[in-house]
């Protein structure tokens, strides 16, 4: 378990991270979200022991990162922002160094390096110098470095930054595959990513935690959540709108588009848990409307994100 206790960091007189506390259990993928300069990287740097906190601490698998740093660091795999790597080394030599420093030697070391190269799809560039690799490969080399010792705790700062959609997908699959026996914290500002991989999301803004929920619960905060979007064929917009407006439990109706008798409307409910779609469809059927499609909105994360961080 990673236990973050009241972490605070000042740069000069500026409070960059303000009293952040949370825990991450094994089996969890914790998404760390926030606008740029919200304090994501600073928090991760404190958890991994790169910079000491002004106050508070992080306990990693029972070891305090400030007082028992070495033992805590042994348990962590860390992918820093921008995926730094030694540009004048070959991929193989670099991973060999990482394995050595993690305490492996001999055949076990060679085995670890080979396994990691396979897992991160690096076999094509094993003996290439890291400086000559593309951004996507560099990112994967740095990712490989973080998992080579099969750590219990993984801290990934923007692991898919700068990757193309295919590579993003691959990295996300890798992260998901590993999540069962590890606690993973990953920071991102890509909201799709939270949906795709995270089991829990923490949103921070201005150095403070402003939300700590599952992505589904977060989405419920969206104004869109529970609204029904309908598309149907009719010429008479006004009649339709008043008809929908009279359905019980409807708060408001929004006309989205009206093209050649093809109308798209969104109906917002009074109470998000009511079965609005059912009531709407019954009413529309009674009035002989032809419904082309109807779906219930789940809400959008970026709306919620903007709502609570702006």
């Amino acid at each position: 378990m990673i236990e973050v206790r009241e972490l605070t960091k000042y740069y000069g007189f500026k409070k960059v991270v303000d009293n952040i506390s949370f825990t991450a259990e094994k089996g969890e993928i914790l998404g760390f979200l926030g606008p740029n300069a919200a304090g994501k990287s600073t928090t991760m740097r404190m958890i991994t022991g790169f910079i000491p906190p002004s106050s508070g601490t992080a306990v990693i698998g029972g070891f305090d990162i400030t007082s028992n740093s070495l033992s805590a660091r042994e348990k962590i795999g860390y992918l820093p922002e921008n995926a730094p790597a030694y540009i004048d080394m070959s991929v193989y030599h670099y991973l060999e160094f990482c394995a050595e420093i993690r305490g492996f030697s001999g055949t076990q070391k060679a085995q670890k390096v080979r396994d990691t190269i396979d897992r991160c799809f690096l076999s094509g560039v094993t003996h290439q110098t890291i400086g000559t690799l593309s951004k996507g490969y560099k990112q994967r080399v740095c990712f490989a470095q973080s998992i080579i010792h099969d750590p219990e705790y993984l801290i990934l700062d923007e692991p898919t930054d700068g990757l193309d959609p295919n590579q993003k997908h691959e990295v996300r699959l890798m992260i998901k595959d590993m999540s069962e026996e590890k606690a993973i914290i990953l920071s991102t500002h890509i909201l799709d990513e939270v949906d795709a991989v995270c089991s829990r999301a923490i949103i921070i803004a201005g150095g403070r935690i402003v939300a700590d929920e599952t992505p589904a619960d977060l989405r419920k905060k969206s104004a869109m959540h529970g609204a029904v979007t309908l598309s149907l064929k009719t010429g008479d917009t006004q009649t339709l709108l008043s008809c929908l407006g009279n359905v019980p439990d409807v708060k408001s109706v929004e006309l989205l588009s009206n093209e050649e008798n093809n109308i798209k409307v969104r109906v917002f409910p009074e109470d998000k848990n009511s079965l609005l779609a059912d009531k709407l469809l019954v009413t529309l059927m009674e009035n002989k409307y032809q419904v082309q499609s109807a779906w219930v909105e789940q809400g959008r994360l970026d709306d919620v994100f903007r709502m609570i961080t702006a």
Partner: protein, 250 residues
């Protein structure tokens, strides 16, 4: 248990540094330039052959001056490069102590300088061919030169941790090294005399690399000279750790 781990970590950092050197052009450029310069000064400026003596005085007297520029050039990247690439964040979050990393880096660079020194062996073969030199004195001179290189290097690695710019690191290192070379001589002493107390002048004049190197070069292995170089190295590496620790808290 802990000691093997410390040694293992130092070895891993040491190995990585060396592969880094030989993976880029730095190592080869350095060795070639070092050998060319030392040859040029020995034969063309000191007129090694015309002097008609089977010793290596003409060769060793140039070492401090060549090291003055070449060693900071080797040292300047040690931390500045880590900072520029961002790899310092990786390195310092690995389960290694700052001391292990500094020692590993320092020993790797020192080892590399040692290799460059060893590659001057044709000079020794030449004097052996020409006459019967005092081999013990030559060995001592090499040892002194190696220790002095280590002292220069420790200054360079310390200044490298001060900045992310290799150029700044290089210049500051050259200035500090120049001070160490000239400490016992008029340029530095003249600045001090007149206002500094006598003990301070005495202390500063004892700090010169040149005087300590000269006494070893003569073939006299004095414990105080060895102690001098090792304490300079220790002090600079310690200062390096303090600088890094401070920059982390900032």
């Amino acid at each position: 248990m802990r000691t093997t781990k410390v040694l293992n970590n130092i070895k891993a950092v040491f190995k990585r540094e060396l592969t880094g050197y030989f993976g880029s052009a730095v190592a080869y450029v350095f060795i070639v330039i070092f050998l060319l310069l030392i040859g040029f000064f020995t034969f063309n400026i000191s007129n090694f052959f015309e002097v008609g003596q089977a010793d290596l005085r003409a060769f060793f007297q140039w070492h401090p001056w060549i090291f003055l520029f070449l060693v900071p050039a080797v040292a300047m990247r040690l931390w500045a490069e880590e900072r520029r690439l961002g790899t310092i964040e990786l390195l310092l979050t690995l389960p290694v102590t700052l001391g292990e990393v500094i020692l590993g880096k320092f020993l790797a660079a020192w080892f590399f300088l040692g290799i460059s020194l060893l590659l001057t062996f044709p000079m020794v073969l030449t004097v052996i061919y020409l006459g019967s030199p005092d081999l013990g004195a030559i060995f001592c001179a090499y040892l002194g030169s190696f220790l002095m290189a280590g002292a220069f290097l420790s200054v360079g690695i310390m200044t490298s941790s001060l900045t992310r710019s290799q150029v700044v690191s290089f210049i500051v290192a050259v200035v500090i090294c120049l001070f160490f070379i000239l400490a016992g001589f008029s340029p530095v002493i003249d600045v001090l005399s007149g206002w500094a107390p006598r003990w301070l002048i005495g202390l500063v004049s004892q700090l010169s690399f040149l005087t300590h190197f000269a006494s070893i070069e003569k073939g006299v292995l004095d414990f105080r000279d060895l102690l001098y170089f090792f304490s300079v190295i220790f002090f600079m590496l310690f200062a390096n750790a303090v600088v890094l620790e401070n920059r982390r808290t900032a």
